[in-house]
């Protein structure tokens, strides 16, 4: 219940979002502060950028889970299926023999 996993495509997307958003807000913060000559403005804009990136990426949103991983069936199930099909083929052989 507390897993909050995302799939591989989602992880790729998450990485791109964090780098893109934080870098963009870094550039905006520098330019805004340079024009307004206020260093506190730069720090506030950058902090807002980090908060936005964290909001978009840290919770396990559905858009990050669109390509779920296709796991192979478990070995016990495979073994049970193999045993069942072997039983079937052996009984069908017997049936054929009896018929012929």
């Amino acid at each position: 219940m507390f897993e909050f996993h995302i799939d591989f495509q989602g992880q790729n997307l998450a990485e791109q979002i964090t780098q893109g958003v934080i870098s963009a807000f870094g550039v905006i913060a520098f330019l805004a502060g340079l024009i307004a000559q206020d260093i506190r403005l730069s720090m506030y804009i950058f902090a807002a950028g980090v908060a936005i990136a964290a909001f978009l990426v840290i919770p396990a949103w559905p858009y990050l889970r669109k390509n779920p991983i296709k796991w192979l069936p478990s070995r016990e199930k495979l073994a049970a299926a193999a045993a069942a099909s072997k039983q079937e083929s052996s009984t069908s052989d017997l049936k054929d023999k009896k018929a012929s």
Binding site: G33, F46, A53
Partner: protein, 181 residues
């Protein structure tokens, strides 16, 4: 990035690298901002007195230390030095002179810290020197000094930068004229 902690760690680590680049850019940008500060110090009077102790000089062993008392006037307009990376200005008035034993001596007559652009215009009259003025050779005779105003820009992030005004020349120190303490 498959768990909550992993994604939080990735966001935080990248933001620290990014803030480092931002602060570096701010530090370098402050080097190329133009400014035109101006300042001047003039001494209205110099008196030399002898005594055992003074403002911040306590030497009970010697009765006749020679202290110089100056009255200064200072005018300065340092408001153009306040850009976005300026945290405060440290402004100090320096008297520079040479003696036979020591070719270059500098003593601080007065200093102040300016934290806001609105306080950056200085106009002082009748100012006494803030610290005791005593020469390493214990005598002020034959000393001829230049006085100038120096400033130091303390940044939020980056490099400490310095500047100074032109020097007012030719202040001669008189002979001791009285006993102080």
């Amino acid at each position: 990035m498959n768990s909550l902690q992993n994604r939080a760690n990735a966001v935080m680590a990248f933001s620290i690298s990014a803030i480092f680049c931002l602060l570096g850019a701010i530090a370098f940008s402050a080097l190329i901002i133009p400014s035109n500060p101006s300042g001047a110090v003039a001494l209205d009077s110099i008196k030399v007195v002898t005594g055992r102790y003074d403002k911040n000089w306590v030497d009970y062993k010697t009765r006749n230390n020679e202290f110089a008392n100056t009255i200064m006037r200072i005018d300065a307009d340092l408001s153009s030095l306040f850009h976005w990376n300026t945290k405060q200005l440290f402004v100090y008035a320096v008297a520079e002179y040479s003696t036979p034993t020591h070719p270059k001596n500098q003593i601080v007559l007065w200093d102040t810290i300016i934290k806001r652009k609105s306080a950056a215009v200085i106009s002082k009259r009748g100012l006494n020197n803030k610290y005791s003025l005593i020469d390493v050779n214990k005598k002020w005779t034959d000393v001829n000094a230049n006085v100038s105003l120096h400033w130091n820009i303390v940044p939020y992030v980056g490099f400490m930068t310095y500047g100074h005004s032109k020097a007012s020349e030719g202040y001669a120190f008189p002979l001791p004229s009285g006993i102080q303490t």
